[in-house]
C-alpha cells in the first residue's frame, strides 16, 4: 500500500506542480495590462462577490441558469469531498472522513452522495441541451464543453463506483447514509468476490484521482478557467455602473488607444480569462441579432486568445505576432466588428461575471481614430463639423436658437434662472427633434420652472465623439464645456436627450464637474405627482408602447419615471415590448452609429420597429431624439406611418397640458 501512496504522491505532486506552473504562465500575462485600482472598498467588493458569484444572481436571471447554479453549489460542496479524497490518498491513516465524529461523518457522507447524483443529473441535462436543443447564440457543441462535461460525469461515476464497491465489500461505515452509492452497490456490485471488489475499488479510486488531477490541469487551458477567475472577477468588478470610459493623458510620447493587449488595463485581460462563454452577451447584442460581424462573446474570446499567444512574447519584450485588430482569424478582431457596436450596454447588463465589453471596444476605436486615422469615411465630416462648428451637421452656431424663434425663451443667467435647459444638437437642428424642444419649453413654462438656455453658446456634449474613440477631441470639448458652465454659473441642468444627460452626468464627472443633471422624465414625473402640471383627459393616443432608450435605462436606470408619466397622461401604463427595461433592444443610433451607414445585415432600427409593431401600438413612445429619428425612419420603411405615431414623451405631455 505504501508503494501505492508513493506513486500517488508523485502523481499528485507532479499534477499540482504542473497546475501551478500553468496558472503562473497564464496569470502572469495579466501583469501586461495597465494599472487600475480594483481593490478599494474591500467590504463592498466582498459583498458583490457573495451576491453575484456565490448567490449566482445574474446566472439565475435565465431559467437554464438554475442548472448551472446547482452545479456551482454542488462543486463548492464537493470541493470539501475531493480535498478529503486527495489528502486521504496521501495520508490514509491520518486524514479520512471516517475519522470525524460519527454524526458529522454520516451527515457529510449523505450530503456528498446526494450532491454527486445531483451533479450527474445536471450534467446529463447540460449534455442533452447541447445536443438536442442548443441555443443559437453559443457554440453549443464545442469540444471544450463536451470534454468538461465528460470529465465531470466521469468524476461522479467513479465516485459512485468507488463507494459502491466499498459498500459492497462492507467496509464503508456510512453505507446507510449513502443512498445512491448503496443503490449502485446492490445493483452492480452484489455478488462480486472480495478480490474483485478490492480491484474495482482500486480502479475507481485511481480513476477518480486521475480524472480529478487531469481536470485540474485542463482548467487553465479551457474556458473552465472561469472556475478560478469568475469569483475574483466579481470581486474586481467596477463598483459603479460602467457608463463611461477612462480618460487618456495627452502627453507627447504617449500612445493612445489599444493596439495590442499590453494597452488594455489588467482587469480587461482578467475579464477575458473569466469568460464562461455562456453567450448571453451575444444573445442580446443588437449587432449580432441583425447579423453583423460583431459578436461580443467572440470579442472576449479573441482577446483571450491574443493574450495567450502574444503574452509570452510581450513579457520577454518581443513584438506580438498576432495582430489584435484587423485579422480574420481567432485572436484577432475585425475592424468591422469594432465599428458595429452601438454601446447599448446590453452585453454588460447580462454578463454573469461582469466582463466589460464596451470599454474594450472603445479602447480599440481610440487606437484606430487617434493613432491610425483609420475610421469609416462618414466620420470625417462628422469630426470636422464638431471641431469647427460644435455640432455634427456643421451648421452655424447662431442657428441654435432658431427652434425657439417663435416662442419666448430666456437666456440662462445665473441667479435669475435656476435651471439650464440643455437643448442638445438634435433638439436645436433636427426638424423633428425641434418639436421635442418646443414641447419642453411649453412644459417647463407650464410647470413654473425657472429656466433658460445658452443659445448660440451651447456646445455639443461630445457623447458621440467619445464613443467613437476620438478621445482627444472629447477631452477638449469636455474641458471647454465645463469651463463654460463654471463661467456662467450653471449648476442644475435639465436635459431631454439621454446621451447628453449621461455624458453631462457621468462623463463630465471625470473632469471634476459637479453638476446636478436631471432628465426631463424625472422632472415631469415630479411636477405631475406634485400637481403642478395639470393634465387633460387622455385623447387620441390609443395604445401606447414604450421603448426604453439604452442611455436612459441601462445606463442610468431610469425605468419607472417615464412609465408613470405615460400612465398619468394616457390613463394607463404603457404596453411593453418583450425586450423591455434592462433587456430593451437598442434603436441602433448609439455609439456614434447615428453618423455611420449600416450596410451589413438587417437594420437595427427596423428590427426594433418590427418588434414594436408586433404589439399593434397606436403610439410608439420614447425619450430620446435618436430613438425618435430611428423609429420614424423605421416606421416609414415598414409603411406603418399612417397607423403608428412615433412620439417623444415630452410631446405627449405637452399635448396633454390643460
Amino acid at each position: 500500500m505504501s508503494n501505492s501512496i508513493a506513486i500517488f504522491a508523485i502523481v499528485f505532486g507532479a499534477s499540482v506542480l504542473l497546475f501551478c506552473w500553468s496558472c503562473y504562465k497564464r496569470f502572469r500575462l495579466i501583469t501586461l495590462g495597465k494599472p487600475e485600482n480594483r481593490f478599494s472598498h474591500v467590504g463592498r467588493r466582498i459583498w458583490s462577490m457573495l451576491f453575484y458569484a456565490f448567490a449566482q444572481r445574474r446566472v439565475l436571471s435565465r431559467p437554464f441558469g438554475l442548472n448551472h447554479s446547482i452545479l456551482f453549489w454542488s462543486f463548492l460542496c464537493l470541493l470539501v469531498a475531493n480535498t478529503e479524497f486527495l489528502l486521504h490518498g496521501l495520508f490514509p491513516q491520518t486524514i479520512a472522513l471516517s475519522l470525524l465524529p460519527a454524526p458529522l461523518y454520516y451527515a457529510l457522507a449523505f450530503i456528498f452522495d446526494i450532491v454527486s447524483i445531483v451533479v450527474l443529473i445536471c450534467v446529463a441535462n447540460a449534455f442533452s441541451r447541447r445536443i438536442f436543443f442548443p441555443p443559437d447564440y453559443i457554440e453549443a457543441r464545442s469540444r471544450d464543453a463536451f470534454v468538461i462535461l465528460s470529465l465531470v460525469a466521469g468524476l461522479m461515476i467513479f465516485f459512485f463506483g468507488l463507494h459502491a464497491s466499498e459498500i459492497a465489500r462492507g467496509v464503508e461505515g456510512a453505507a446507510a447514509y449513502m443512498p445512491i452509492s448503496n443503490l449502485a452497490a446492490s445493483i452492480l456490485f452484489s455478488g462480486m468476490s472480495e478480490h474483485s471488489l478490492i480491484t474495482a475499488a482500486e480502479i475507481f479510486w485511481w480513476g477518480h484521482a486521475l480524472i480529478l488531477l487531469a481536470f485540474l490541469n485542463y482548467l487553465p487551458y479551457s474556458k473552465h478557467m472561469h472556475i478560478l477567475t469568475a469569483i475574483p472577477n466579481c470581486f474586481f468588478q467596477s463598483l459603479e455602473k460602467v457608463t463611461t470610459q477612462p480618460r487618456e493623458e495627452f502627453k507627447k510620447g504617449n500612445a493612445f488607444g489599444v493596439e495590442n493587449i499590453g494597452q488594455f488595463r489588467w482587469n480587461d485581460l482578467f475579464d477575458s480569462y473569466s469568460c464562461t462563454e455562456c453567450g448571453r452577451c451575444t444573445d442580446v447584442c443588437p449587432a449580432t441579432n441583425t447579423h453583423k460581424p460583431l459578436n461580443p462573446r467572440l470579442i472576449i474570446h479573441d482577446i483571450k486568445e491574443n493574450v495567450v499567444h502574444n503574452g509570452p512574447l510581450l513579457i520577454k519584450g518581443k513584438k506580438p505576432v498576432l495582430p489584435l485588430i484587423g485579422g480574420d482569424h481567432e485572436g484577432s478582431i475585425s475592424e468591422d466588428a469594432i465599428w458595429d457596436c452601438t454601446t447599448c450596454r446590453a452585453c454588460m447588463e447580462v454578463c454573469p461575471v461582469f466582463i466589460e465589453h464596451v470599454p474594450k471596444l472603445i479602447g480599440m476605436r481610440r487606437y484606430l481614430v487617434e493613432m491610425k486615422a483609420e475610421f469609416p469615411e462618414e466620420l470625417l465630416n462628422f469630426f470636422e463639423n464638431i471641431e469647427n462648428r460644435s455640432n455634427p451637421w456643421g451648421i452655424a452656431p447662431p442657428d441654435r436658437v432658431k427652434w425657439c424663434s417663435d416662442i419666448d425663451v430666456q437666456p440662462f443667467e445665473a441667479g435669475k434662472t435656476e435651471y439650464l435647459y440643455y437643448v442638445g444638437c438634435a433638439g436645436a437642428f433636427d426638424s423633428r427633434s425641434i418639436q421635442i424642444s418646443q414641447a419642453m419649453a411649453k412644459i417647463l413654462n407650464a410647470g413654473g420652472v425657472s429656466w433658460g438656455i445658452l443659445g448660440a453658446d451651447e456646445p455639443c456634449c461630445g457623447d458621440s465623439v467619445r464613443r467613437l474613440g476620438n478621445e482627444f477631441l472629447f477631452d477638449r470639448i469636455a474641458k471647454n464645456n465645463i469651463q463654460l458652465f463654471q463661467e456662467r454659473g450653471v449648476q442644475k441642468i435639465i436635459v431631454s436627450c439621454p446621451h447628453g444627460y449621461s455624458t453631462l452626468k457621468n462623463d463630465y464627472r471625470q473632469y471634476g464637474a459637479e453638476l446636478e443633471v436631471i432628465h426631463y422624465t424625472e422632472l415631469i414625473n415630479t411636477l405631475i405627482t406634485e400637481g403642478t402640471l395639470q393634465l387633460k383627459d387622455p385623447d387620441g393616443l390609443g395604445k401606447v408602447v414604450f421603448h426604453d432608450s439604452c442611455y436612459l435605462g441601462r445606463y442610468n436606470e431610469i425605468y419607472a419615471a417615464p412609465r408613470q408619466v405615460i400612465a398619468a397622461v394616457s390613463g394607463q401604463r404603457p404596453a411593453e415590448m418583450e425586450r423591455h427595461q434592462a433587456n430593451s433592444f437598442c434603436c441602433g443610433a448609439g455609439g456614434g452609429r447615428m453618423w455611420l451607414e449600416e450596410s451589413r445585415g438587417e437594420r437595427i432600427n427596423i428590427a426594433r420597429v418590427k418588434e414594436a409593431l408586433g404589439e399593434n401600438p397606436d403610439t410608439l413612445c420614447s425619450c430620446c431624439p435618436y430613438c425618435l429619428i430611428m423609429f420614424e425612419d423605421g416606421l416609414k420603411d415598414e409603411g406603418a406611418m399612417d397607423r403608428v405615431k412615433a412620439l417623444d414623451l415630452a410631446e405627449m405631455v405637452a399635448g396633454a397640458l390643460k
Partner: protein
C-alpha cells in the same frame, strides 16, 4: 576766396504714429525697423524711440493701415525749405533704399506669364486651356509673353495644342520618368524651369494634381501661392491681383504677392472661360531636361488601377449642376424625368438616402450626412423634405432650388428658390422650357 558752402545734410525726419489708425496688425513695424527703434505697447501700437529713428521709412511702407508718417521738426522744415529753394523745385524725399533697390531689380528679372498644362496619360486637363485664356489677358496687360509649361513623357503634342489656345512659347520637359505624376519629379522639373527662365506669374489648375504640385513648387521656390482664385487681374503697379472668397464666402479677398516671384495662383476648373482655339498658330518649343534619377524619387508607381466604370461613372461631387430626388419621387421610373432635366442642363442626378435605401438610385449618388458632400453651382432638390441629415451634404451649394408639395418642408428654409407644387408637373415643364430656349438660341 571762394566760400564753400557747407553741404547741408538733408533731414530725413522721424517716424510717428497717427493716433487711432493703428490696427494692431502684429508688430510689422517693429519687425521692419533696422535700428530697433520701435517697441509695442499693450494695445499693440508702436512706440517710436525718436533718438534711434533714422527716418529710413521702412516702417511707414510696411504698415498695412498707413498709420505711420514722417514728421519734421521746425528746424528740419526750415532746412528742407532752404534746400528746396536751392534746388528750385520740390524736394521729394526720394529714398533710394539700397535694399529696396536690390529687391526691385530682382523682381524685374521675372518676366513672363506661365501656365502649367496638366496632363494625365497624355490627356490634357481642360482647366489648363481656360488658364491660357486668362493668362493671355494678364500677359497683355503686363506687356510680356504668355508661355505654357508641359511636363510628361511623349507629350510634345500638348505644346502645340497650347499654341492653339494662345500660348506664345512652350517649355517642355519630356522624359520617361515623368510618365506618371509624382510630386518630387514634377516639382523639380517646374522649379528648374522657373529658376532658369524666371516667370513673374505661374498659374495652375486647382485639380488634385494641380493643388499638390502648386504647393510643392511654391514651397521649394519660397514664394506666395493663392489657391482657388475666382479672379485674376493686373494692378497699376504691375502686381497680380489674386481674388478669392474668404471667411466662408462672406467676403472676397484680393491678395497680392508683392515681394516674391513668381506670383503663383491656382484656379478651379470652369471658373475662367475657355478661350477660342486657333489650330493654325505655330510657335517655338523650348526643350529642357534635367537629371532626375529613379532612385532619387521616394515614390514608385507600382500599378495603375483604372476606375472600372470609366468615364461614364457618375461623380456627384464633381458635378456643377445636380438634380436630386428624394422620397417624393416615389419610384425608380420617376427618376427618369430628373435624368432628362439633368441632361438638358449638363448636370448629374443625385439622390437622398431614402431613394438609395429604396434602391431607386445607386449608393454613389447618395448625398447627405453619411453619403457624399457636394457644393455644386446649382442644386435642384425634387421631392426632398430637407431633413438635417440631407442638408449637411448639400448646404454649401451656390444656388438651391427646391420643389416639394409640402409647404412646411424644411428644405424651403435653405432654398434660394422654392416651388411648392407637384414635382411631376414642374420638372418636365422646366425641361421643356429649357429645350425651347435652346432651340430659340
Amino acid at each position: 576766396m571762394a566760400d564753400k558752402k557747407k553741404k547741408v545734410k538733408k533731414p530725413r525726419g522721424k517716424a510717428q504714429l497717427i493716433t487711432g489708425k493703428c490696427i494692431a496688425c502684429g508688430a510689422r513695424c517693429e519687425a521692419a525697423c533696422p535700428v530697433d527703434a520701435i517697441a509695442m505697447n499693450d494695445k499693440g501700437e508702436p512706440i517710436i524711440d525718436t533718438t534711434q529713428c533714422t527716418g529710413c521709412r521702412k516702417c511707414v511702407k510696411i504698415c498695412p493701415a498707413e498709420a505711420l508718417e514722417i514728421y519734421y521738426t521746425p528746424e528740419e522744415l526750415k532746412i528742407l525749405a532752404e534746400l528746396e529753394k536751392e534746388k528750385g523745385g520740390p524736394a521729394e524725399v526720394e529714398e533710394i533704399d539700397e535694399e529696396e533697390a536690390k529687391q526691385a531689380a530682382k523682381l524685374k528679372e521675372y518676366k513672363d506669364v506661365w501656365v502649367f498644362v496638366e496632363q494625365t496619360e497624355g490627356e490634357p486637363a481642360t482647366v489648363s486651356w481656360e488658364l491660357l485664356g486668362v493668362g493671355a489677358r494678364l500677359a497683355q496687360a503686363l506687356g510680356v509673353k504668355l508661355c505654357s509649361v508641359v511636363v510628361g513623357s511623349k507629350v510634345e503634342a500638348l505644346c502645340r495644342e497650347s499654341f492653339a489656345y494662345g500660348a506664345a512659347l512652350s517649355y517642355l520637359v519630356d522624359d520617361p520618368i515623368f510618365l506618371n505624376y509624382r510630386t518630387e519629379a514634377y516639382r523639380d522639373a517646374v522649379c528648374h524651369l522657373v529658376k532658369t527662365y524666371k516667370p513673374q506669374v505661374l498659374l495652375m489648375g486647382a485639380t488634385g494634381l494641380g493643388r499638390d504640385l502648386a504647393g510643392a513648387v511654391a514651397t521649394q521656390l519660397a514664394t506666395g501661392l493663392t489657391a482657388d482664385c475666382t479672379g485674376l487681374d493686373i494692378d497699376d503697379h504691375g502686381f497680380l491681383l489674386q481674388t478669392r472668397p474668404a471667411f466662408g464666402g462672406n467676403i472676397m479677398a484680393t491678395i497680392v504677392t508683392e515681394r516674391h516671384r513668381p506670383q503663383m495662383a491656382t484656379v478651379r476648373p470652369h471658373v475662367m472661360p475657355m478661350p477660342e482655339k486657333n489650330a493654325s498658330r505655330k510657335r517655338k518649343i523650348i526643350r529642357e531636361s534635367l537629371k532626375v534619377g529613379k532612385a532619387d524619387l521616394a515614390v514608385k508607381v507600382l500599378e495603375i488601377i483604372h476606375d472600372s466604370k470609366g468615364k461614364d461613372a457618375v461623380d456627384v461631387t464633381a458635378a456643377e449642376i445636380i438634380v436630386s430626388g428624394g422620397a417624393g419621387m416615389q419610384s425608380q421610373e420617376n427618376f427618369a424625368i430628373l435624368q432628362e432635366l439633368a441632361d438638358e442642363l449638363g448636370g448629374v442626378v443625385g439622390a437622398s438616402r431614402r431613394a438609395v435605401d429604396a434602391c431607386w438610385m445607386p449608393p454613389e449618388c447618395q448625398i447627405g450626412q453619411t453619403g457624399k458632400t457636394v457644393g455644386p453651382k446649382i442644386y435642384i432638390a425634387c421631392g426632398i423634405s430637407g431633413a438635417i441629415q440631407h442638408l449637411v451634404g448639400m448646404q454649401s451649394s451656390d444656388i438651391i432650388i427646391a420643389i416639394n408639395n409640402d409647404k412646411q418642408a424644411p428644405i424651403f428654409e435653405v432654398a434660394t428658390y422654392g416651388i411648392v407644387g407637384d414635382v411631376f408637373k414642374i420638372i418636365p415643364a422646366i425641361t421643356r422650357r429649357i429645350r425651347e430656349l435652346r432651340t430659340q438660341k
